[in-house]
Each structure stands twice: as C-alpha cells, then as structure tokens.
Symmetry: C2
Subunit: 147 residues, 2 copies
C-alpha cells in the first residue's frame, strides 16, 4: 500500500528543511546558524527588548533551546542581556549594533539563494503554497498545545 499523503508531505518537508538549512548555513557570515539568524531577524523586525520566554514562544522552540541559542549570540556579542527590573526571575534581551550588522550581512548572503529559489520554483506557486503551510503549522501547533 502507498504511504498516506500526509506521510509523504511530512517526509518532503523534513528533507526540504534539512537541505535548506545546510545550504543557508554554508553562506552565512560569522558562523551564524539559521536559529541564530532567526532570533536576530526577530529583533530587527519587531524592535525593542524581549524576554527569553517571549522569544521562545514567538519562534516555537522550548525555553531550554532558547537559552542555548542566546548563550551563543551573547558570546558573539550579537545580543545583550540585562536583568528584568520588575521580575527577579527574568531578563531583557536586546540586539546590539554588531548583531544588526551581522544580520544585514546574512540577509545579503542568503538573499541570493532565495532569489534563485523563487526563479526556479516560481513566485506564483510559492504564493499559493504558503496558505497551506500556514494551515498545517497551525494544526501542529494546536496538537502540541493539546498535551
């Protein structure tokens, strides 16, 4: 019997994620990884300071994972951390100027891959696929919450 379509979808998605991540990380400067880049990007797009928990929720990883990624970004000087004045358990994380530049360089570096991809696949196909992916993500997110 053939694999169910849902299985094949998840299978393709797993491989795409892996190949894409590897491709991007080969071009990014300062040994930036994709997760690190995503955090920097989040700061640039939304501005201001954020707690590790808020970042973890926004990016859909556990707080333990966020701790780990932030430690590396701190070591590279791309983010800074100060104690939260109103909550003794918490911290406020911000991007630094160096972090901003690194993110700019990374954008340049992967931009070329993204253009190639749009050219090869067709922006129209991508536009039509996006809602499907968003729906699938929402479903999985909701399944996770249900535990």
């Amino acid at each position: 019997m053939p694999d169910p379509v849902a299985f094949r979808i998840m299978n393709e998605i797993g491989i795409i994620d892996q190949l894409g991540t590897t491709l991007f990380e080969r071009s990014m400067p300062h040994g930036l990884t994709v997760p690190q880049f995503i955090v920097l990007n989040h700061f640039v797009r939304l501005g201001g300071a954020r707690t590790p928990m808020a970042l973890a929720d926004a990016i859909q990883v556990t707080k333990a994972t966020m701790t780990s990624t932030l430690q590396r970004l701190l070591a590279k000087g791309f983010v800074s951390s100060t104690p939260d004045p109103t909550d003794g358990r918490s911290k406020r994380i911000s991007i630094t100027d160096t972090g901003r530049s690194a993110r700019e360089e990374a954008i340049q570096a992967i931009g070329h891959h993204l253009s190639d991809m749009e050219l090869a696949i067709g922006a129209a196909d991508m536009d039509s696929a996006l809602p499907f992916l968003i729906k699938l993500r929402a479903f999985l997110d909701q399944q996770r919450a249900k535990s």
Copy 2:
C-alpha cells in the same frame, strides 16, 4: 519591507518539521526517533540488504549521520550488519524481525496523527501541495550537488 515569499516558505517549513517530529516522537514505541523510523521504513518498503552509503543517499543525509543512526538501531537490535563479501570497506545492513515489528508498532502509533492531519487540512489540499514540495526538494537537492 516584507520578507520575500521564499523566506516565509522556508520559515514555515522549518517550524512544521520541528513540530511534526516532536509530535511523532512522543507517540513512537521503543524510543524510536523519526530518523530511525525512516530507516526501518525504507527497509520494509524496498526489502533486501543495503550499504550505509546507499541508505544515506536514499534518505539524503551524510554518511556520518547514517553511521550514527545505524549504531543506535544496531544497539536496539532492529537492524543487523555483516561485512560486504565483495568490498572490504563496506557492510550490508538488513532489518531484523524485531525491527520489523517495531516499525509496525510505530506505523500504528503515528497513523492516528496522520489521519487527524488529513482530516484537519483536507486530503485534496495535501494532494495539490505535494508536487510543489517535490519540486522544491529537487531544487535544493540540485543546489547541494552544485558545491
């Protein structure tokens, strides 16, 4: 400026992969992971013995990654390994009966998630998304080869 559509696609795919993997691994028996399951599944679907390199190519991971996954499957007794009689560098890996049963149990365990998913998203939408994903995967695979 908004993120390019290719970026958003890759972003969603990364999150879907992560959420899906976690969801599946929570239900699978014997501490099976998704990569381990994929290897067992490959053996059941295609039968016979395979070299680690052939498996790595089929599943699109590096040979180092395959070494690691096979070591864990060997430790669980789900695959067996014998030296290749014709090539002193190589091995022949096969699935064991225990491995076959474990794979059967895993199929049952994740089947329920896959049905839920098909129900929530709609099999028709999945059918139409699949060619897009296959095309994207092929593109990335070809980019990788170009290095």
